[in-house]
Amino acid sequence: MLKCNINGVDLEVPEGTKLIEAFLKAEQKIAHYCWHPGLSVAGVCRLCMCEIEGNPRLQIACNTEVQEGMVASNQSEKVKETVRWGMDFHLINHPLDCPICDQAGECGLQEQYMEYGQYTPSMAHAKVKKRKVVSLGSKVVLDSERCILCSRCVRFTDEVTKTHELGIFNRGDKSEIGTFHDKPLENKYAVNTVDICPVGALTSKEFRFKQRVWYLKDEKTVCPGCSTGCSVKVYHNQEGLFRVKPEYDAEVNEHWMCDEGRGVFDWVNRQNRQSYSVNAENMEKPSSSELKLILTAQQTVEEYESLFEYLKSSNKKVEVYYWKNNPDKFDDFDNLLIRGDKNPNTKGLLETAVKHDITLNPFSGFDGFESFEGDIWFILPENKAVYPLYEQYVEKALKLENNLTIFAVPKVKVDKTKKNISILPLKTYFEKDGHFLNFNGLKRQLKPGPLQVSSALALNEWVSFVKSDDFGDQVDLLSKRKSEGFRKKNEMTQTGGGL
């Protein structure tokens, strides 16, 4: 360990630590555009200036290693003056179009400008015009004028995805980020470049112009997109969910997540949900002595626990069917994050089943179910996109004459006169407490955000209804729960932003 002093704060850091990391560790503010903890050092933005005792010249903190006894600060007028000038250079050709920029509110340049901006521009020359709306493939848009050439995005495609699509072309004030021959940027992690871009040069097509970031709250939770279980932040407000970003997690996903995982929030939104129950008014407590249950690996461990415990303690004859999607791809891995098992909790399901001595029979359709006299509980997966046979099985199920209860996140179109079928809306990963076990058994804790469908329930709640004496009342209450009056689309936000 090395002792050092940063802005008067004494601390110890391991050998090889960069000065900028020491600043951050000491909770000192230090501007940085090009340095990113997940990438190599570029040292090009010149904003992380600091003064090191005994060194007459200012140094950049991102490319200086801490030495034993180093005393550094970025508080002096000399440093501030330098940063002010550096800032001015960055702004020579920057359009400063914050009012129409998606990054406004979470932009490094904007923050720095508030503190160090000269406000009255001293440049007599016109700004260099560059390409304003460049479509970089299906997911990312580039505004070359806003780019400050920090090269983070280039280093990302070089070092993390190793797909090498991006480069800095031309030179001087004509330098521009781009792909060779305007090829689309289509790697599976492309939107991470949007996250790390310190300004509004790279924006996400999906999120662009949908919301101002200061109207959004965020919730730290886990991505249910595959068995990796990346730590993420979900951004939402009364209108619903709007985007997902990765959250640093040293054990799983570090700074990144895949693009597919960013889209999964969509099924949580009310407009895509089964938002009311069907035939639940006069529902009776499941009384048959036989029960068939179909489930997937998309529920939480807590749900499996309560379900299996109930099944074991009831005196019913129970058969549990495990609906597995694409089992032949379960072991696929792209060597970065994406896994072929598109369920967040396969391990959790298997372990809980073993713990409660439950046999999981493979599910392959409803053949032979017709003659069955007991109850059927059909728990649909919430991420139906990864279940190729989803529509087919649901259609089959809706034709059954058995006493069937369907638990669903996505909309299910049922003929209401078919009194043998009831549908109950299910909570999504974003709305319930609980955890998954990822591919290597690591506990992935969910954190519930606001309920999007008020009558939705988790399976453990269902089990508690079934166990309670006033089952009918409970279900009744659930179906009568009024939705919370979600706000309609904010008339102040645009949906356009054509390319």
């Binding site: 070089d158 090498h164 991006l166 072309f169 031309n170 792909t179």
Partner: protein, 162 residues
């Protein structure tokens, strides 16, 4: 027209790759080789090079786009680069460029109808004492007048055709 890297050029590139510690160092000589043969470097050529060299297209393109000496568009058989920086400009460099364009009915940067001439204005080529001057392909022509420059180009044209 699809770009094909001839065996001899491919071998050249492979040899260059061996010469340097970093593969990236071989980009410039390889690009120059192609330009020498083709007159310019197309996107296709970059793709082929990328495969031969085992380097990403984007990185080769970074080098290509950085240097103005590489032609990113086709040029005529005679690439006439007229200096219009200070010394040459003061001695009629700009007018010279205009004159040549007029004479061969070609816009700056474009290729004349017969495929012979491309005129571009360039910054100082380091021959200020002999201003105005032009560079035709690899060769400098100095102390020019409008007449002498046209004469030189006519002679060169003759040589190329002949």
């Amino acid at each position: 027209m699809a770009f094909i890297l001839k065996d001899e050029d491919k071998n050249f590139v492979l040899e260059e790759l061996k010469r340097y510690e970093s593969k990236y160092s071989a980009i410039i000589p390889s690009l120059f080789r192609i330009q020498k043969k083709e007159g310019w470097i197309s996107a296709e050529a970059v793709s082929v090079l990328s495969e031969v060299m085992g380097l990403p297209e984007a990185h080769i393109n970074e080098v290509l786009q950085f240097y103005t000496m590489f032609n990113k568009e086709p040029v005529g058989k005679l690439h006439v680069q007229v200096c219009t920086n200070v010394s040459c400009a003061m001695n009629g460099g700009r007018e010279l460029a205009k004159k040549i364009c007029q004479k061969y009915q070609v816009k700056e940067g474009a290729v004349s109808q017969d495929g012979m001439i491309t005129v571009t204005r360039v910054e100082c080529l380091g021959a200020c004492d002999k201003a105005p001057m032009m560079q035709v392909n690899d060769k400098y022509w100095e102390d020019l007048t409008q007449e002498s420059a046209i004469q030189i180009l006519e002679d060169l044209k003759q040589k190329v055709v002949g």
